[in-house]
Amino acid sequence: MSKIQLYVLASVVAAVGLSVFLYKVYFLGFPVTPAKEVHIWNVEARIKFVAEGKPVKVSMFIPTGTRRFAVMDETFASGGYGLVATESEGNRLATWSIREATGRQGLYYQAVVQVSRTKAPQVDKKAPKPASPGFEGPTLAAAKTFIEGVKAKSADTPSMVTGLLKGLAHPGTDENVRLLVGGKPSVEKRVKMAIRLLSYAGIPARMVRGVRIREEKADLAAKVPIIHWLEVFDGKDWTSFDPITGNSPVPDDWFPWWTGVRNMAHVEGGRSVQVIISVSPRIQEGVQAAVQHGQRSKALLVQFSLFSLPVATQAVYKVLLLIPVGTFVLIILRNVVGIKTFGTFMPVLIALSFRETGLLRGIFLFVVIVALGLGVRSYLERLKLLVVPRLAAVLIVVVGFMALLSVVSHHLGGHTGLSVALFPLVILTMTIERMSVVWEERGPEEAFVSGLGSLTTAALAFVVMKSKYLEHLVFVFPELLLVVLAITLLMGRYSGYRLMDLHRFRALAKE
């Protein structure tokens, strides 16, 4: 009957999942295990603006690549715009244009950046002419005094640049620096001033802007800020300097995007311009090779895979695809072991937030917030409030606690509390509410049992979901979720005893 139907369905679903998986492993060559180190990154820049119904011209700098970073596989999503890529003064510029456009517009640039550890030989370059510093009056005097002071304390050009940057970064009581850049100058302003000061001293320098190529901790927030640094021409080549520490060269993961003082994007005929850069580790070499191979051979499986999505969306799916795995853990714990939890999927959501906070910290924060919430809830009980306002009141207090915890722990020097904001707020509130109702009606014991059950389940689901290996498997082979689905369907008809049943009916099993 329907049981046979279920078995057939489950085996078909599992067979489809497994065969796609095996096909991808054996014929398309996707690696089953994740690589140790990532050398390839997806870099993406999105320009958003509102067009005003006039001709629109958008120009944006795009990365050139250096000897450490090779820019490959560039893609432009233009949507009806004409596109020209040009080069000027060592920068590359992409220019999109269209006769007329209205409303919200979005343009994309996507590139694959490969990090190579080899160093190319240095080439002699033509020395650029320093631009005119443009100091006059009191600033001229201040610049002169400051630069002479720095020069006196340094041995050569690099140490002078370092001293200069440090001096600008910590104005302290130096009246000259304050006059030049003000009290709390931004990094960008300091770099600009450093260039003027260096050109006053006859040293050619320029500003470089770029992004850090590294794995962001929060998977969902793939947006990265633009950073600024300084490059100085030492007669043969450009040397980079970190404007904050003054160190040279800059860290290995600083990826230069463009040089000069101009803004990254310029839009004519549009307003509310926004540029968002995101960086994410590209699927490792092995996977990438398989994807490229698949794209060349026009394999549908590859063309319509998750790899065809924008980087930011891919990052979201890396997390989303793990949720079924977490739910599977939940099914086992609830239906085979018999652990009680608050709410059906609450533990999985809590486990997701543990990904951001870390396990022990996560548990600690969860317990603290729920305990505080329970305290408030039990006080509100005395005021005899109606359910919805009471829930809302608990929610407001929980938000307050979270903010307070963040601020306090920030001041104590840890960033533990900052990640508290990643807990699903509504889930926390409902947990507090359910727990206090159970507490009142069935006693604290029952409330603790369910609370502990939820936390244990969340912790176990987290341990499973944290596995890099599993993350790789479900993201590269999402068809494996069909296998999970098949087992889940079968679990839906599991009618055996739960582990907890043995305890519950122990009086019957004796004799």
Partner: protein
């Protein structure tokens, strides 16, 4: 551990996965659930079929009606407030006495009218209902329990749970309130459940917190060997519920009123499993027997007789 599982299997103990997968999901169509989940509808249904239920004094459906509570109560001094969609006995308030604006709960604590109203507000907003959806509050007759249970219950009203499978009563117990259960007759709230021999109506040992007890924990009176009056009538009442609700697997809760006789309190579409501990027997052999024989049982009387013939407890036990 596996030994225990094997032993439970031999006894035919029905556990929660199996109950859901093979019985409630299979024999209880979802569309029938509202009939029993809403106690108001159960009451109306029972009355339509001429089955006695505790008299309904009034229903409060919206917040505004709470003000007319006084009018609804009239001169009544004892009554019960319960949520229409409550589960597991939660949200039931038993008032046993009243002096003007003050109400005495069954356990002797005093409530002022404001507190009573708050309880009703909470009920309406869904605090006690399944899934937390908005609910109604029923105000009904407080059962005057039959003196037969006086010695083996602590306040509150004991009730009799009969599991009815395809119209055949298969297992039964009486649930006795204790101090721990706050006068409520629900096992997970701390009430004692005592098995009942289906063929005679005689009580067996009790279960309290999943453990076997022979005496009532508060009164000390033996739980075993009490004869339930009008047992055949109770079995008949329970068996008739199959036709009324259409649920294949249900738990019928009946109370014995001193003056009005057996009254149906509620019907449960997902009855609990501890009844097996109270009876020291597994449900599965009985359910299997009914499954294979129920086609030959045409009338209510036949079904009751079948139960009495086949589900008697060995006198040796």
């Amino acid at each position: 551990m596996f030994g225990m599982a094997k032993r439970l299997k031999e006894m035919g103990v029905l556990a929660i996965n199996r109950r859901n997968a093979d019985y409630t999901l299979w024999y209880n169509p979802r569309r029938l659930y509202p009939l029993v989940d809403d106690k108001l509808r159960t009451k109306e249904l029972a009355l339509k079929h001429g089955i006695a239920v505790p008299e309904l004094y009034g229903v409060i459906e919206v917040e505004g009606q709470v003000r007319s509570l006084g009018k609804m109560l009239g001169e009544r001094t004892d009554f019960v407030v319960k949520p229409a969609h409550g589960s597991g006995g939660e949200g039931i308030l038993v008032i046993s006495g009243r002096v003007n604006e003050r109400f005495r709960k069954a356990d002797g604590t005093i409530l002022v009218q404001e507190e009573l109203e708050h309880h009703i507000f909470s009920t309406l907003s869904g605090l006690y209902s399944l899934g937390g959806q908005p609910d109604k509050a029923l105000i009904e007759y407080r059962v005057q329990f039959d003196p037969v249970f006086e010695k083996i219950s602590y306040q509150g009203v004991p009730d009799i749970r009969i599991i009815v499978f395809l119209g055949v009563p298969v297992m039964s117990m009486v649930r006795l309130p204790t101090r721990k259960s706050d006068g409520k007759a629900n096992l997970h709230q701390g009430a004692v459940g005592a098995g009942i021999d289906i063929s005679t109506g005689m009580t067996l040992n009790g279960v309290w917190d999943n453990l076997v007890v022979t005496e009532h924990p508060d009164t000390g009176a033996p739980v075993r060997g009490n004869l339930i009056p009008d047992w055949d009538g109770l079995l008949d009442l329970a068996a008739r519920c199959y036709e009324i609700t259409g649920l294949g697997y249900q738990g019928v809760d009946i109370v014995l009123d001193r003056d009005k006789g057996p009254l149906i309190l509620e019907i449960n579409a997902r009855p609990g499993l501890n009844i097996q501990i109270a009876n020291n027997a597994g449900l599965l052999p009985r359910l299997d027997l009914v499954k294979s024989e129920h086609r030959n049982l045409r009338s209510v009387a036949e079904r009751v007789q079948f139960a009495k013939d086949h589900f008697a407890v060995d006198s040796a036990q």
